[in-house]
């Protein structure tokens, strides 16, 4: 699963696409981990841009939860942006909207984490 990493100042935007389920969750985790280690190690925030995600199962949600747990342990922060309606509903039903801050757009997510990142996004 491609994550299309895109840095904005001190914040990294990752954009998983397709279906995140039992079949793809290991691949997603493996792809996500180096970005998590690098960004959180450098005290950078992470935005998960979910606009390309068609579906997420419990196995996929677990990947998000593990990432959030790592961020918390390292004093970093991960937020979610721009989920499609189906994914937004699954976040609500699973109560993952209580674990993650969910923003309607990447711009708003960046602004919540870092004014510099939002400014960089506006300049792109």
């Amino acid at each position: 699963m491609t994550l299309t990493p895109q840095p904005y100042a001190d914040t990294l935007v990752l954009a998983p696409a397709g279906r995140l389920d039992q079949e793809s969750s290991d691949e997603f985790r493996a792809g996500l981990q180096p970005h998590l280690d690098a960004a959180l190690g450098a005290q950078r925030g992470i935005v998960l841009d979910l606009s390309g995600l068609e579906y997420v199962s419990s196995a996929g949600l677990r990947c998000f939860m593990l990432a959030a747990r790592q961020a918390e342990a390292q004093g970093g922060r991960i937020v979610v942006a721009s989920p499609r309606p189906v994914v937004a509903e699954i976040f609500q039903i699973s109560r993952f909207n209580m674990l993650f801050s969910v923003y309607p757009t990447v711009r708003e997510a960046l602004a919540a984490l870092s004014p510099e990142a939002a400014a960089a996004f506006d300049r792109r």
Partner: protein, 322 residues
């Protein structure tokens, strides 16, 4: 096969408060405004037609106790019940009333021995009747000890030895299908503190899975596969949906319970026909459980492949036939 839910609440019994009753009554009165309801019969008919579950029912109530009748022509003197939570008191009244003094055999299947699953037994009427035979089945070594212990001082004034019924304890082997009074019974080990066991019951071409107090780890696909096999093509799966998925895998991980989302996923993979959300979180009121039910139905709709899974939330007094 017919299933009756006598106790559906997790961990500890929950009752409506006077404020709950008053608020329901007030909302019902507002809805009835302008209708000609000058008799109880008319009012009941109006309530049945025009008032929703949230005003006419409650999820309840008692802790775990689920009865089933196997097949289309069950032996009227044989009973089958899962767990002896506080719902067992009302179940006992049902047995006594229906038997009218005739001998009965009650086959009990114990998921585990935590207090909320045995607390109804001291109040189970048939235990005090000579004409009752009670066969308590389970996989735990401490099965008999747990039932005797809770009757002892200072917990209860009537010791086990004074119970009049003929009470037997029958150890079952997990993973083995046992033929018990005409029902095929297969226990399965589940993840819960001190172990718990789910049961798959099959009779008359129908099957029913009772799986409560069971945690499902998302990083154990082999375990998930084994539950999919256990649920395979079941007519009904009564499933521990105590927590949200977020709670079940974060702050309440290792607490031994599961979520509505895992229930839907496992039942869809198993091509089960019906999912009953069960072992409701005591902190959830009726409104919260109703919302969880609607959300779970929506999730099922979002994730449905070629076959609909019927989703219900079990409540005390619910009867299902399939």
């Amino acid at each position: 096969m017919r299933v009756r839910f006598w106790g559906t609440r997790g961990s500890i019994p929950v009752a409506l408060t006077w404020r709950d009753v008053r608020d329901r009554l007030a909302r019902a009165l507002v809805k009835a405004n302008g209708h000609d309801l000058d008799t109880v019969e008319k009012a009941c008919a109006f309530a049945g037609r025009h008032l929703g579950f949230e005003l006419t029912h409650t999820f309840g109530g008692h802790t775990s106790c689920v009865e089933f009748e196997p097949g289309t022509a069950p032996d009227p003197d044989q009973y089958y019940v899962c767990d002896m939570g506080s719902g067992a008191r009302a179940f006992g009244e049902h047995v006594v009333a229906r038997q009218s003094g005739r001998p009965a055999t009650i086959n009990v299947f114990m998921s585990h021995l935590h207090w909320d699953h045995i607390m109804g037994f001291p109040f189970f009427g048939p235990a005090y009747l000579r004409e009752a035979r009670i066969r308590i089945h389970g996989c735990h070594e401490a099965l008999e000890h747990a039932f005797r212990l809770q009757q002892d001082p200072p917990c209860f004034p009537v010791p086990f030895s004074q119970l009049a019924a003929r009470i037997e304890f029958v150890r079952l082997t997990p993973g083995v299908t046992h033929d018990i009074a005409g029902v095929k019974v297969t226990p399965k080990l589940q993840l819960h503190s001190g172990d718990s066991f789910g049961f798959r019951f099959a009779a008359g071409g129908r099957s029913f899975v009772y799986t409560t107090d069971s945690e499902h780890k998302l990083d154990e696909p082999a375990a998930a596969e084994s539950f999919v096999s256990f649920f395979r093509d079941a007519d009904l799966v009564v499933f521990d949906a105590m927590y949200s998925l977020a709670d079940a895998i974060s702050v309440k991980a290792d607490w031994g319970h599961s979520s509505n989302i895992i229930g839907v996923e496992l039942c869809q993979l198993a091509r089960a026909k019906r999912l009953a959300l069960y072992h409701h979180e005591p902190a959830n009121d009726d409104t919260a459980i109703e919302r969880i039910l609607q959300e779970t139905r929506r999730l099922e709709e979002l994730t449905r492949a070629d076959r609909k899974l019927e989703v219900i939330a079990a409540y005390d007094g619910l009867e299902m036939e399939f």
